[in-house]
Symmetry: C2
Subunit: 262 residues, 2 copies
């Protein structure tokens, strides 16, 4: 249940296509209410072809304070930020934007930060860990960058070597190693591919090669426990599900959206 909406309620959007599955309208609106802020997060289903005109119009609506961006618009959103954060620039992607005092929009990419918070909540401090990230797409890139900036020694694996090399070059001068489907020698293995969503998918790594006690994490949210996590858990690994990984997201987005410069 939510407090009553009024004409004075401040508006934040989540823009994607589709949007019916997004958690931010419920999660962010709940966090706003918990913090005593009269604001809501509203889903907006905007097709690719309409995104640019939509953003130009939405940024000028005077009671819209923030815009959360999700698939497939995280890359295109970059063009709509007058000021992207360093990590948004490195990833060429944005998942949250807020209007600054001077009217400019500031954009950031908080997906990786949410992952760090989830890891730490599970007792896995990334600093100094050897981490293998599988998948160099949008989500994988954010994870690689966040882990590297948190002090992990990160390797990335992708079935497409060109995509892997493109990511490594983009994140330079950070040193990102070349990984493989062999998880031996890593303390933390993150699946950032869609593998495990469909029955019969291949495993993202050779689970039988997982080090004893290595953390296994998966960004896939359906099923809640993927075959990769299931097998890792049977071998005694601590696991983090997709839901675990996204749990800190609403609080982190609210921190970003409600930020008031001193």
């Amino acid at each position: 249940m939510l407090p009553e909406l009024t004409g004075a309620t401040r508006i934040h959007l989540i823009v994607g296509d589709p949007v019916a599955q997004t958690k931010s309208p419920a999660g962010l609106t709940r966090v706003f209410a918990e913090r005593g802020i009269d604001a809501v997060c509203i889903p907006m289903q905007v097709a690719d072809a309409d995104f640019s005109a939509f953003m130009a119009a939405a940024k000028r609506v005077r009671n819209i304070d923030g815009i959360v961006v999700t698939v497939p618009h995280k890359f295109a959103a970059m063009r709509h930020c007058e000021r992207p954060s360093d990590r948004a620039r490195a990833l060429a992607a944005v998942n949250a934007m807020r209007r600054e005092r001077d009217g400019d929009w500031y954009g950031d990419m908080t997906d990786g930060i949410a992952l760090l918070a989830a890891l730490r909540a599970s007792g896995c401090e990334p600093n100094g860990r050897r981490a293998l990230v599988v998948g160099a797409g949008g989500a994988g890139s954010a994870v690689v960058l966040a882990l590297a900036d948190a002090g992990a020694r990160v390797a990335v694996h992708d079935i497409d070597p060109a995509r892997r090399e493109e990511l490594r070059a983009r994140l330079a001068p950070r040193k990102i190693a070349v990984g493989s489907a062999d998880p031996a020698g890593f303390d933390l293995v993150v699946n950032a591919t869609p593998l495990g969503m469909a029955a019969g998918d291949a495993l993202p790594v050779a689970v039988e090669r997982l080090d004893a006690g290595a953390f296994a994490a998966d960004l896939v949210t359906k099923p809640a426990v993927t075959p990769f996590l299931d097998q890792a858990r049977r071998r005694g690994s601590p696991i983090l599900t997709g839901e675990d990984m996204f749990a800190p997201q609403a609080g982190i987005l609210a921190d970003f959206l409600l930020f008031s410069p001193a």
Copy 2:
């Protein structure tokens, strides 16, 4: 309190400038919930200069089903309806739009209908009544048209004769008489001017000339009881306040927005 917002909640907007005072976010959202519809009405504060681009973008958002339009955009909204109703066309104004099955937007002007419902709820059936409407602006025009189409014999008065004549011509072939500030001979007198909002305003009509038992209605909502209504009440007239007049609005807007063609 409202049910939880989710990514699947359907969106209706109310677009105006300002919007903080609008009742639709609370009123319409409550009606949606009472009817078991997972939908909300969200305020959007859009400046005049931004309205056209905003509407073009909002109409293409796939989970927006309806748009309520308020001051100062009711006239400009006309251009954004592929299909305006006859009464919207006659008034050259629109206060509610919905997406039809074929993707076109249908627009209507329901302000006058809300007034009819309020009058009938107070025991004042307009059919056959002699009605004087003071004020030929946007609100007054909607009132004149609704009363005329409901079978009242309507006279209109405006301090600007050109504006009065423009309205009479626009509503032809309906016969709208020329009124004055003298309410003698009318069963129903409606103030559709801002007179009464500010202390020291002139009265919209010469209240001492009001017929015994004539209904007095006022569109002004602040103060709740204007000097016109106060004096009419002292003379024994039944009165309808601005709040009474707008009370049916949320239900009527919901009927319009949720309309499903058979």
